[in-house]
Structure formats: structure tokens, C-alpha cells
């Protein structure tokens, strides 16, 4: 059965009368099958408020991401956390929704400098598993009134409640961008180089390393964004940090954007077989961890703090990683648990929260432990 409520009250009603598990679905671009009736959020669609001068946008959760990006673009603004488009990687179609982005806390390469989706979240409205309508946060940029359930709901994958409305902080689009590219570095040297750039005052807004680039050789990419004069200056300063290495500067903004879309959407893995893992770790440990994984292909983002690994189907990546400071999520594939098992006391808190928010255990049953 498929439900498609047209209002928050209808959605609450649908949850109140459900007699089994419910699968919450935005655009369905993540392509995972769970048991239960599908609850589509697409009926709750539309931007409810957008004030460019206050850098705030409020939208119903089922609003297509494309609609939001177009509205922001018209005012020269954007979602700074750079949500990725998963369709190529997952081999899915459909239109990603803003609710799905928030529910999965989806953030791209710029996360390393500006923060994750959750850092741009100002407020939520949601319906919990008891069909109660709850709001938290609001539409203002600074708000410490009560507990921050906005953060809890971001990244809870629809297991604590169904988002009906989200408010976000947006940022101006920079005038231009440039990339500094370094050729031929080993993974470990690349991570050191990225640390050096990110530790400089020149405001790097992306730092990625591809061990096997388009031409078959390793390339390390650093991004700089801002006003034209500033970008030119900082690109030169960063290039100068790496005297003696094979450094190039890409100053064509379109080429820069294309390159970072390629990183953001992990295009190198598109159409290739195998499972895809996303590993969040301490950057300086990344190269050693990646070696242990024994991947078919790798991509380092966030200065090494994020490893994308494509491995043979069914590989138990967590066992290969052993104990480390971070976590590994199975993004594509089915042989292993999607989410990293949590240590005892934290798992107990997570279970406790889920029990409170969804006592009947009907929301996305089976997802997240």
C-alpha cells in the first residue's frame, strides 16, 4: 500500500491509523527496500518562506531539492553544505527531496570547511511514531531555547519521526572559484598536503584526493572560493605552499565546478560493480585505514576525513578496519549492516530515544539498528 498525505494533519492521521511498519520515502533515490507500507512525502511540497536578506529558507519536507536549488540560484544563494546527488552512484531515479537530504544529513565536499547539513538546520516540524506533531528550533539563526531536537532529527533517517517542514540557513554563492591540483602524490603524502592547505589561512573549501584519476594517475585537489581578486591571490598562495611538487591551478570556474561535482557525486564509482562504503575517520589515519580495507577503488574527501571505498560485493569492511576513531556506513550493497554498531552505553541511549519517539516501532523498522 502507498500513502501520500497532502497535509501535516493527514500525515499524522496516516501514522495514527497504521497497523504495521511504515517506509518513509522522499524521492526514493537511496534505493533501499524495507518492509511496510510506503509513506510518500511528495504531497507536502513547496517553499513556505524565503528571505535572502536573512539567509533563511523554510520548505515542506517533500519539496524537490531541484526546486529549492533553483529558488536559491535566482538570488545568488545556495545550500552551502553541498548535498550530493546519489542517483548515479545508487543507480536510482526519482527526485531527491529536501526532507530526504535532512533525514540522511547529506553533506558534500564543503562539509570540511562550512559544516554538515545539520549545521545549517534551523528548525523542524515532524510527526513522531505516536502521530504527535512536534516542532523544534525555528527560523532564526541563533536559538538555544530548549533541547536541540533539530540536530537529533537531522540524520535520524526517518526512524524518530517523519519530517513535515524544515528551515535552513543558506549562504551567498561566491563570485568565482579555483582549484589547485597536485599530481602524483601517494595517499599518505596527499593527506599531509591537504592538512597543510587546510591549516593555512587561505580558506580552502574542499580538499580531495583521487589515487587513480581520470588519466590513471593520482591527483590531489584543493578548492578556493570567493571574490575574484581574493580567489586569485589565495590560489597563488596555496600553490606556493607546495614548491617542488607538480602543481597546477585551474581558474576556469565552470571546469572547477565540474571537477567538484565529480568528487561530490563520487562519479568515479558510477556504473562500477561492488559495494560502496563511506568511512568517516581522523584524516591522518586515513591512508593506513584505506590500506587495510583493500578496496578496488578509493576517493578521499574532507582532507582525508572521509574515505569512499568501492569493494568486492559482501566484503566485511568493518572487520578489516578494526577499532578506529570514526565509523563506516554501507551506502551501496546489502551483505552487511548499513550503520556502524555503536558501543554499549551509546546504543542504549539510541534505543531509549527510539523507544520514546516511536514506541510501536513502526517508522522505517529495521533501519539504524
Amino acid at each position: 500500500m502507498k500513502m501520500r498525505p497532502e497535509s501535516e494533519t493527514d500525515l499524522a492521521e496516516a501514522i495514527a491509523t497504521a497497523n504495521g511498519p511504515i517506509r518513509v520515502q522522499g524521492g526514493g533515490t537511496r534505493g533501499v527496500t524495507l518492509d511496510g507500507d510506503v509513506l510518500e512525502t511528495g504531497g507536502l511540497s513547496g517553499i513556505t518562506l524565503y528571505e535572502p536578506g536573512s539567509l533563511t529558507l523554510v520548505a515542506q519536507a517533500g519539496t524537490p531539492l531541484a526546486e529549492i536549488e533553483a529558488a536559491l540560484d535566482a538570488e545568488g544563494q545556495r545550500l552551502a553544505f553541498e548535498p550530493m546527488d546519489h542517483r548515479g552512484l545508487m543507480g536510482t531515479s526519482g527526485a531527491p527531496t529536501i526532507g530526504g537530504v535532512v533525514a540522511a544529513n547529506v553533506s558534500g565536499p564543503r562539509r570540511v570547511s562550512v559544516g554538515a547539513c545539520r549545521d545549517f538546520m534551523l528548525g523542524v516540524r515532524y510527526v513522531d511514531g505516536t502521530s504527535t506533531i512536534v516542532k523544534n528550533g525555528g527560523r532564526v539563526m541563533k536559538n538555544v531555547t530548549g533541547y536541540d531536537l533539530v540536530k537529533l532529527m537531522s540524520g535520524s533517517w526517518g526512524t524518530l519521526g517523519v519530517l513535515t517542514e524544515v528551515s535552513l540557513k543558506v549562504l551567498p554563492k561566491p563570485e568565482t572559484a579555483a582549484s589547485v591540483l597536485i599530481d602524483g602524490l601517494s595517499d599518505a603524502d596527499a593527506v599531509s598536503a591537504m592538512a597543510k592547505a587546510l591549516g593555512s589561512p587561505f580558506e580552502v573549501s574542499g580538499a580531495a584526493h583521487i589515487p587513480v584519476g581520470l588519466d590513471g594517475h593520482p591527483v590531489t585537489i584543493l578548492r578556493i572560493e570567493g571574490f575574484a581578486g581574493s580567489v586569485a591571490y589565495r590560489a597563488d598562495q596555496i600553490a606556493a605552499l607546495f614548491g617542488g611538487l607538480a602543481v597546477r591551478v585551474e581558474r576556469d570556474a565552470d571546469a572547477v565546478a565540474k571537477g567538484w561535482r565529480w568528487v561530490r557525486d563520487v562519479e568515479a564509482f558510477h556504473g562500477r560493480p561492488g559495494d560502496v562504503w563511506r568511512i568517516s575517520c581522523t584524516p591522518s589515519e586515513a591512508a593506513a585505514l584505506a590500506t587495510n580495507v583493500g578496496a578496488e577503488a578509493l576517493l578521499y574527501d574532507w582532507g582525508g576525513g572521509l574515505i569512499w571505498a568501492r569493494v568486492t560485493e559482501g566484503t566485511d569492511v568493518r572487520t578489516r578496519l578494526g577499532l578506529f576513531d570514526g565509523h563506516a556506513t554501507l551506502v551501496r550493497g546489502t551483505g552487511q549492516a548499513k550503520f556502524q554498531p555503536e558501543p554499549g552505553p551509546i546504543a542504549a541511549l539510541s534505543r531509549g530515544l527510539r523507544q520514546k519517539f516511536d514506541p510501536k516501532g513502526i517508522l522505517n523498522t529495521g533501519l539504524m539498528g
Binding site: G53, N136, L149, S154, Q340
Partner: protein, 482 residues
């Protein structure tokens, strides 16, 4: 502000409780003498005072865990304390509580420039975190005005902000991990040296939970490379509306200043009398600061000044050197001190949508006349976080109550126009009873359900954040269980 009646069953067992605490802590870490506990009777909301049953000053996570276990077993409420600079009464003790201060836990545990973090014990002051890394060209971004005194512990509990959060965010955006001790003594690591949570974002939940979910003993904080330089400009306008429009235009133009500070006429007059910074006498004054290399600063300031000129400023003042920059900031930085010279004052902290600024300032002016109390406004204009300072006379009968009623009306106004009660100081006891103006019962219930999970017996800082009537049933269950 009402506080719950102290639990007689706890008060009567003071000797046994202190004895148990002394078993798990060194002798000088337990204070029970009434003369000495009085030093902890209030935080920076000094209108409210109450000495705790006892004070403990543990030196390690293990000691914190041992203390909490004792208090949990004996059913004693615990109020955590950093440096006691809360303006909301967050660290106000109750007569039946053990006040747990983390001031002795102030070590730097690890600095790592490659991975850009510092790990500290949470009793360390905010400014000394930056102090530990600045020689190497780094800093810790959140910079509350109280940064010389306030501790990372309180910053995390209140999710504190600062003048530069328009660009760098508040505490929650700069916190990577914590060591936390639950009320039953369980120690856990949440987050760490990596980004984002693998499961639910518990770190985001703990940040801003006002000491009600656990005691935070260690923190991993993001540090950033220091910018090459920074420079402010000062601009004066002849109305709040025009200043507000100028702020919106600057933001829309795509410049992201690190700070946009706003002062109104009463505030300008008071600070001029006190600090003599040479500010123009006008209705509204903005200080806008940008960062970068000298050329980058010039590029951004040129754009900002061009926008400002379109709004017919009565004054535009650029800083040519560090000395002039210092003078531009001087008045703003002494605003609170200046107010303190004139009078007692209450500092509010509501946030409003930036677009509502002129309307809200006008309404505050009208209410000021109705209540017969003066108000000065100084605030972070880029993010709409207001700080109306209401002046009153603590020695005058009824003035405090009048001031509180006026303050409550201002905060209700903030909520009415789409904002909130507190942008960075927290709810504490001060705004506890106004929560019903911002939240429906179901909204508060969802938040209290979170505390049920972390602290089922409601022993950690129980009389804060939620209206007493709303938390009554939970707190009384805790009492009955003893």
C-alpha cells in the same frame, strides 16, 4: 522566580551524604561548611541566590563518575557548574543539591594541528583554549564576551555564541566530541576526532542541554588557522530602519563579514559617557568586520562601503591601523561595563528574524515608556540575536519585578514575530516559565522525553529549562522513589 521546595529527606541526610562523598574524593575536594558553600550560591544572574547542600570539585572523569554514582544511589540532585557566568541562572544551586564544579579540570590533553583539533578538560576557560594554540597560528572560534572567565563546560551546556559566529558558527558547530558522565556514573565517548555521527547525533543533542543530560568532562574542539588579518568599519545612521536595511543589503550582496554589531542611541550615549570611544551621536551604529589579506580586506570593504553610502550614513569611519580598529571596537566592548556603571541592568537575549528588526526596536521603545524603564540595545545584527539591556534599580522596591515583567514582554514579542526566547544565554530559570509561549505542550513533552532517557530519575539540574508545572510529575516521581 520560584524554585521547588527543597527535599527534606535529602537535607536531613547531609552528614551521611557528605561522608559518602568524602570516601570517593580527596579531602579538599568536598566543601560542606556553610560559610564556604556560599561562594557558589549564584551565577551571573545575581538576583537569585541559594547555597547548595555541598560542593564537590573533582579532578578527573573517574572522580566525576564516582560522585555521580554516590548522588544517584542516595537520590541527591546535582547541579553542574563551570565558571558560574551563566546569565540565565543555569548554575543556580538548590538547597538540596550537590554542586559539581569542574574548575579543577583545566588541562589541555592533546593538540593536533594536522587534524585541526584540541582536546581539553572542560573546566578550561574559553580564552585559554585559544591561548594554547595561538602561538602556532590557530584559534578556537566561539568567543563569548565572557571568554576570559567562562569555561568550555558552560559553553557546551549553553551552546554559547560570540561576536564572530556569523562566519564561524556557535559552539555546536565547533564541537567534535565529548567525554560525558551520565547521572548513574556511566562514562561514554560521544563523537571524537572524526566528523559527524555514525548513528543519531547525540553530540548535537547534548550541546545546549544545560547540564541536564550528563556532566561533560572532556571535549574535542575544532581549531582553525588564524586569518591573515581583520579590519572593522563603523557606520552611523539616522534611523534603525535604515541601519537594518543596510545589514540586509550587505548580506544579500554576498559578502560574509565575520561580525555585524548594532548599537542604538541609548547604548551609544551610555558607552560614550563611559569609554569615550568617539562614536558619532546618531540613532543607530553598525560595526562591520571583515577578514583576510590586506588586499582581500580592501576588496570586501569597498563593496560594503558602497552599499552603506547608498543608505546615506551620517558617519563612515574606516580603520587605517590597529589603533583605529581598536577604537572602533572600544565602545562596543565596553557596552556592558558602561551599563553597569549607570545602573543595575538585566540583559535579554531573544532572537528575531533580521527583517523584523526595525519593528521590534520600535515596539521596545514604546514598551520602555509604558514601563518607565530605560532600555539600551546592543546586538549581533547579522543573525538577529538581540541584547536589550533593561536598566533598573535593585534597591528600589518592586523595580526588579517590573524589570522582569518588561523583559518577559520583550521576549514574547520576539516569539510573536517568528523568533525565540534565547539565542545564546540559555533558558536556565530565567526563561523557564516563558517556554509555554514558544512551545506547545507536545513540543515540551518531546524534549522532556529526551531527559527521561538520559536521566530517568531527573536528578541532574532538574529545576531548570522546563516550567516547574510541566516537569512536576517527573520530578516528584524521582522524590517518591527514594
Amino acid at each position: 522566580m520560584q524554585m521547588p521546595t527543597p527535599d527534606a529527606n535529602v537535607l536531613s541526610r547531609k552528614t551521611q551524604i557528605v561522608a559518602r562523598l568524602q570516601e570517593v574524593l580527596p579531602g579538599d575536594a568536598v566543601i560542606s561548611d556553610e560559610m564556604e558553600t556560599r561562594a557558589y550560591e549564584c551565577d551571573a544572574l545575581t538576583a537569585y541566590k541559594c547555597a547548595p547542600l555541598a560542593v564537590v570539585l573533582p579532578s578527573s572523569t573517574e572522580e566525576v563518575s564516582a560522585v555521580l554514582k554516590v548522588c544517584h544511589d542516595m537520590g541527591v540532585p546535582v547541579v553542574p557548574r563551570g565558571s558560574g557566568t551563566s546569565l540565565a541562572g543555569g548554575a543556580l544551586p538548590t538547597a538540596d543539591c550537590v554542586l559539581l564544579g569542574v574548575a579543577r579540570m583545566n588541562d589541555v590533553l592533546e593538540t593536533d594541528y594536522d587534524n585541526r583539533f584540541i582536546r581539553v578538560q572542560t573546566g578550561r576557560t574559553n580564552l585559554s583554549v585559544t591561548g594554547a594554540v595561538e602561538a602556532d597560528g590557530f584559534f578556537y572560534a566561539p568567543d563569548p564576551s565572557s571568554q576570559l572567565a567562562c569555561a568550555i563546560a558552560g559553553n557546551i551546556a549553553m551552546n554559547s555564541g560570540g561576536a564572530h559566529c556569523l562566519k564561524y558558527g556557535v559552539t555546536t558547530n565547533n564541537l567534535m566530541g565529548v567525554t560525558m558522565v551520565q547521572m548513574d556514573g556511566t562514562v561514554m565517548e560521544i563523537g571524537g576526532k572524526h566528523l559527524d555521527a555514525g548513528g543519531y547525533d547525540l553530540l548535537g543533542l547534548i550541546c545546549g542541554s544545560e547540564g541536564q543530560l550528563g556532566v561533560v568532562t572532556e571535549a574535542t574542539l575544532r581549531i582553525l588557522p588564524k586569518p591573515e588579518g581583520a579590519r572593522p568599519v563603523l557606520m552611523g545612521f539616522d534611523s534603525n530602519e535604515v541601519a537594518g536595511a543596510c545589514v540586509a543589503d550587505i548580506i544579500k550582496a554576498g559578502v560574509l563579514p565575520v561580525a555585524i554589531e548594532f548599537m542604538d542611541r541609548p547604548c551609544i550615549e551610555a558607552t560614550e559617557a563611559f569609554a569615550k570611544a568617539g562614536y558619532p551621536m546618531c540613532e543607530a551604529l553598525l560595526i562591520v568586520e571583515v577578514e583576510g589579506s590586506p588586499a582581500e580586506i580592501d576588496e570586501q570593504l569597498a563593496l560594503i562601503l558602497e552599499i552603506a553610502r547608498r543608505h546615506n550614513p551620517v558617519e563612515l569611519r574606516e580603520a587605517k591601523d590597529a589603533d583605529e580598529a581598536g577604537r572602533i571596537w572600544l565602545g562596543r566592548k565596553s557596552a556592558f561595563g558602561a551599563m553597569g556603571q549607570i545602573n543595575d541592568y538585566m540583559c535579554l537575549d531573544g532572537t528575531i528574524p533580521v527583517s523584523e528588526l526595525p519593528c521590534v526596536l520600535r515596539r521596545i521603545g514604546e514598551m520602555s515608556k509604558e514601563y518607565g524603564l530605560d532600555v539600551a540595545n546592543v546586538f549581533h545584527a547579522g543573525d538577529g540575536n538581540m541584547h536589550p539591556l533593561i536598566l533598573f534599580d535593585a534597591n528600589k522596591e518592586g523595580d526588579l519585578e517590573l524589570c522582569e515583567a518588561f523583559g518577559a514582554d520583550i521576549l514574547r514579542l520576539c516569539v510573536e514575530v517568528g523568533g525565540c526566547l534565547t539565542g545564546e544565554h540559555g533558558v536556565g530559570i530565567e526563561k523557564r516559565d516563558l517556554m509555554v509561549d514558544q512551545f506547545a505542550p507536545a513540543d515540551l513533552e518531546a524534549q522532556m522525553a529526551v531527559k527521561d532517557v538520559f536521566d530517568p530519575a531527573w536528578l541532574l539540574n532538574p529545576a531548570k529549562v522546563f516550567p516547574l508545572a510541566a516537569s512536576e510529575s517527573r520530578r516528584s516521581v524521582a522524590l517518591a522513589a527514594e
